[in-house]
Amino acid sequence: DGMNILFIVVDDLRPVLGCYGDKLVKSPNIDQLASQSVVFSNAYAQQALCAPSRVSFLTGRRPDTTRLYDFYSYWRVHAGNYSTMPQYFKENGYVTLSVGKVFHPGVSSNYTDDYPYSWSIPPFHPSTEKYENHKTCRGKDGRLYANLVCPVDVTEMPGGTLPDIQSTEEAIRLLNIMKTNKQKFFLAVGYHKPHVPLRYPQEFLKLYPLENITLAPDPWVPDKLPSVAYNPWTDIRQRDDVEALNVSFPYGPLPDDFQRQIRQSYYAAVSYLDVQVGLLLNALDNVGLSNNTMVVFTADHGWSLGEHGEWAKYSNFDVATRVPLMFYVPGMTTSSVTHGMRIFPFLDPFDHIVGLVPQGQSKKVVELVSLFPTLAELAGLQVPPACPETSFHVALCTEGTSIVRYFNASGAKVEEEEEGCD
């Protein structure tokens, strides 16, 4: 009761993480978080598209209730005046703060990230976010392009930095303020990578030599896939490097070598993200808040890395809808932390260590729409009631259910779910 909440949401991250069994990726900081958490290995988004997924899990309603399937409506005007998860915490005495990409910016969050309803102060957006799709990628000819695959020299970037680096700095600044003013907080940090363009500090390429990168295990369009189910990855086709390949629409395929380059850069972007998460969690230790702050780590949806001949999200395939989901709850997923003890020391992916395993693992199938009731229960707040069949007129209810029942209260390893009789 009265615990702080650090809510980390990552853009387009599929469970390409060591703690999800991926053998290639270097993600020691997220793996370290998992080693103190309950990790859900079958968690799914309600729609594999940024704005609909984010509005869905932040309101606890399904897309058919938010009536947002694209980017162009604001639920309070278009569907119903639904309370959001941060708004609920704000109404229950929390200082609620947003850094980076939590709501999808633009119409779907009223161009304000739903401030002031959801947040105590105006949400922070990195100043360099506006250069995301500019020509900042240096080609072999030395000229600058707006590429899909975009390892960069950060010192050459506008402002000499990148959006996620700025977000981490701001989140750490806020943690230091929260430590001083001793108010309980709900801090949401939204990282942009590995969303396209795959623009990250070029040194992370060293972690993934191209010769170690394979194609997807099933890089062809399945013969019995209905054509309506296939997504033609239009957004990446418009990137300069992909456009130059002149692949046919809608099925391509991309040249094998370029497929491997995309996969290589996705992995490199994940390790870059892991460093940002590591710096943020290390700061939580530094301000002495690791023992009374829950940490939630998840993503808005996944991303296809060539499986079924597809790239990006925009489909119902598991690779596009399945997300990482883990909860660190001091005293519940781990035994209580003695004050001052470090839980999340920064781990450098370049000094990669293996062997961190999740504290608890649940294979139960769960949904992002359940985040709101789950966090309410974990924080000791009244859990929002289940929505009636039609809930456009109901401000506070949820179409998800709390998944705390799948945690193990003692903090011991979550028992493998017993098949059969209880």
Binding site: Q46, V228, P250, D318, G420
Partner: protein, 99 residues
């Protein structure tokens, strides 16, 4: 197995909109007014079942009588979801069984 209680089997529901049956330039991100089909997925640890049905963007209604396509993948034997067996199952019996 009949000697095992049937555990509460959690289900996850996802969905995705499409403007047409055949891929076109706005298939990935159709605007609301251009949505004509909605793909509703139901998944458990054992399978993913998806129905692509007619959708009316004016009243947000999905018509499950007008099925454009279906997908069914059994996770144990096809974890990568490459072998759609929806058409292998005679109409509805499987759907009734899993429901």
């Amino acid at each position: 197995d009949t000697d095992k209680c049937f555990n509460e089997e959690p289900v996850a529901f996802s969905q995705y909109p499409r403007p047409a049956d055949i891929p076109q330039w706005n298939s990935d991100k159709p605007r609301l007014k251009d949505i004509r089909i909605m793909g509703y997925s139901m998944r458990t640890v054992d399978y993913r079942y998806t129905l692509w049905v007619q959708f009316n963007p004016n009243n947000f209604s999905a018509n499950f009588e007008d099925i454009h396509a279906g997908e069914l993948y059994m996770m144990e034997t096809d974890p990568n979801q490459d072998h759609n067996i929806y058409n292998n199952t005679s109409d509805g019996w499987f759907f009734k069984k899993i429901l």
